[in-house]
């Protein structure tokens, strides 16, 4: 896979008098795992929310596979091939693990069907099973999602995002709140995912980011500070000054 998949052109976002993002121009190639890093308040989550349609930019243009996304409602982003996970675990807690993923799988096909029996749609069940298998939750099908461990809930959220077979997977701090063992499992999962699709990752654990990513984009105070290969980012004095010095101990 190669070529440009997503391009942000001069993206800006203002909340009243506060400028969260200013003139971000960056493009993401297909088939790469790219990480977006930056200190707290850098604008990473705002940028992520714009890329996933949860927020509309105040200025600039967003193109996915050459098609402009500005003006599309959030739910249409999944239909374009962009799917996401959240910084704070965001699942359907009172549904079973299988139903969490199956309901996400049907969003692209049979949303408003009131006649067929949802339990008898074998292709959707198979898709859900495959996504759960990919994240190692096939053994938990019938459990209510709220009873899973934190790490399993994070994995479930990735399965929810994965089941729509997105071309671009946006993962917002997938290891947030995880212990070392769970983080290790998640890193292994991310490596497997990155083999098959384009992944954009927001993470704070620098060792993990620099080890996993092919490319790193650094935001600071809502602006693009640096963009390059992990080694270039590691040796960039500006990045070290604003960010790395604070967090080298992580991960």
């Amino acid at each position: 896979m190669s070529g440009e998949l997503l391009r942000a052109d001069g993206i800006g976002k203002r909340f009243g008098g506060f400028t969260a993002l200013e003139d971000i121009t960056v493009s993401f190639a297909a088939g790469q795992l790219t990480s977006i890093i930056g200190p707290n308040g850098a604008g990473k989550s705002t940028f992520f929310n714009i890329l996933s349609g949860a927020l509309r930019p105040s200025s600039g243009r967003l193109h996915f596979r050459g098609r402009e996304l500005n003006g599309l409602p959030q739910h249409r982003f999944v239909h374009q091939g962009i799917s996401r996970s959240y910084q704070i675990t965001n699942i359907f807690p009172d549904l079973t693990v299988h139903e969490n993923v199956r309901v996400a799988a049907q969003a692209l096909t049979v949303s408003y069907d009131i006649w067929r029996n949802r339990a008898r749609l074998p292709e959707l069940n198979a898709k859900a099973d495959a996504a759960l298998d990919a994240v190692g939750l096939l053994g938990k099908l019938g459990e209510l999602a709220k009873f899973l461990s934190h790490g399993q809930q994070r994995a479930l959220e990735i399965a929810i995002a994965l089941v729509s077979e997105p071309e671009l997977l946006l993962l917002d701090e997938p290891t947030a709140g995880m212990g070392p063992e769970e983080t290790k499992d998640m890193v292994a999962l991310l490596e497997r995912l990155a083999d098959k699709r384009t992944v954009l990752l927001v993470e704070h654990k620098m060792k993990m980011v620099l080890g996993l990513s092919k490319r790193v984009v650094v935001l600071h105070h809502g602006r693009l500070l640096a963009d390059g290969a992990p080694d270039d980012i590691r040796s960039n004095p500006e990045v070290r000054r604003v960010y790395l010095g604070q967090s080298e101990g992580y991960g």
Partner: protein
């Protein structure tokens, strides 16, 4: 079942004939309703349980399954009753066609109210539905040449029910009960269909996590509007049943107190449970029946009992019973 990991395996009951019976929620519900006149102190009470059970069941789709707390369900209950009465009394439409027209027009009313209200959330949604339902109440009050105003709608009586070559005396209480039960069974079948369908999964997802549902690719606003219309359609059928039963439509049916009563019934019986609305309707109506013999201020006692239920049995009578018996969500 093609593999041990398929969704069918998840939904499949554990084992045994009891589990299979519980899975047949429409059949089981109809079986209970069929003997209800012999379980309750009066036939009239049983008919009211049927009617309010259907109204509350429609509301349960909105509140219990989708998580949208509306205070305006009386609008659709009343609309179903008024449209049925007007169609029969003013235009001489046959009863079954009058019911079909009434449900259709009430669904259109639900669409109009839903377009405005489903764009709001939480308390704002509750208040907008309350305000718009009160608007319907005042329209019915003012349009007295059509609705009879504060005297209610009169002048239509269905004494025989004829369909597919069968004709029964509708003034006979037993016949009346079973004809209305057939309509209730139709409503239950329809609601069960919705709950089992892919769209049933969508509304559950919206109830569980609206943000996640939207991120999964669902048009949440459109889904809410659809469920609002379906809920209104089912509750309006209860209104049609009331009109056929009473041969009058009291104006109070549209009042916000009726909406409040519907909310109480669903909570008493158990929101999110299939048969809970009938249990809630029966509980409320029996309490009203029994306590009003002792005192005209029966609402004080029913209100106190309701508060106790909310505090100690938040899943309602039926929901708590199913939990106690360990019966899963799929069989409710």
């Amino acid at each position: 079942m093609t593999s041990p990991s398929s969704g069918e395996a998840v939904a499949k009951p554990a084992s045994g004939s009891l589990s299979w019976l519980l899975e047949q929620r429409v059949l089981m519900s109809v079986a209970v309703l069929a003997v209800l006149p012999w379980l309750l102190p009066s036939q009239a009470l049983a008919v009211n349980v049927l009617i309010y059970g259907v109204v509350v069941m429609g509301y349960n789709l909105l509140f219990g399954y989708t998580g949208l707390l509306s205070f305006g369900q009386a609008a659709f209950f009343g609309a179903g009753a008024y449209f049925t009465g007007i169609a029969i009394g003013r235009y001489g439409v046959p009863w079954f066609l009058a019911v079909a027209i009434a449900v259709l027009l009430s669904t259109c009313l639900a669409a109009a109210i839903g377009i405005v209200s489903t764009r709001t959330r939480g308390i704002y949604f509750a208040m907008v539905t309350l305000a718009l339902a009160q608007l319907v109440y005042y329209v019915a009050l003012q349009a007295s040449s059509f609705t009879g105003g504060e005297n209610g709608l009169r002048g239509f009586t269905v004494d025989r029910i004829s369909l597919f070559g069968l004709s029964v005396n509708f003034l006979d209480p037993v016949n009346k009960y079973y004809v209305l039960m057939a309509l209730a069974a139709l409503a239950m079948w329809f609601q069960s269909r919705i709950l089992n369908s892919p769209f049933g999964a969508v509304i559950e997802a919206i109830r569980e996590n609206e943000q996640r549902a939207r991120a999964c690719g669902y048009n949440v606003e459109r889904s809410k509007l659809i469920v609002f219309m379906l809920s209104g359609a089912i509750s309006s059928l209860g209104g049609c049943m009331l009109a056929l039963h009473l041969s009058i439509v009291p104006l109070d049916i549209l009042h916000y107190q009726t909406s409040g009563m519907i909310v109480m019934m669903v909570l008493l019986g158990g929101a999110r449970s299939f048969f809970g609305p009938f249990v809630g309707a029966a509980t409320f109506l029996i309490l009203e029946d029994v306590i009003s013999v002792w005192t005209p201020h029966w609402q004080i006692f029913v209100g106190a009992i309701f508060v106790l239920f909310v505090l100690f049995l938040p899943k309602g009578i039926w929901g708590t019973l199913l939990d106690t018996l360990g019966i899963g969500k799929a069989r409710r």
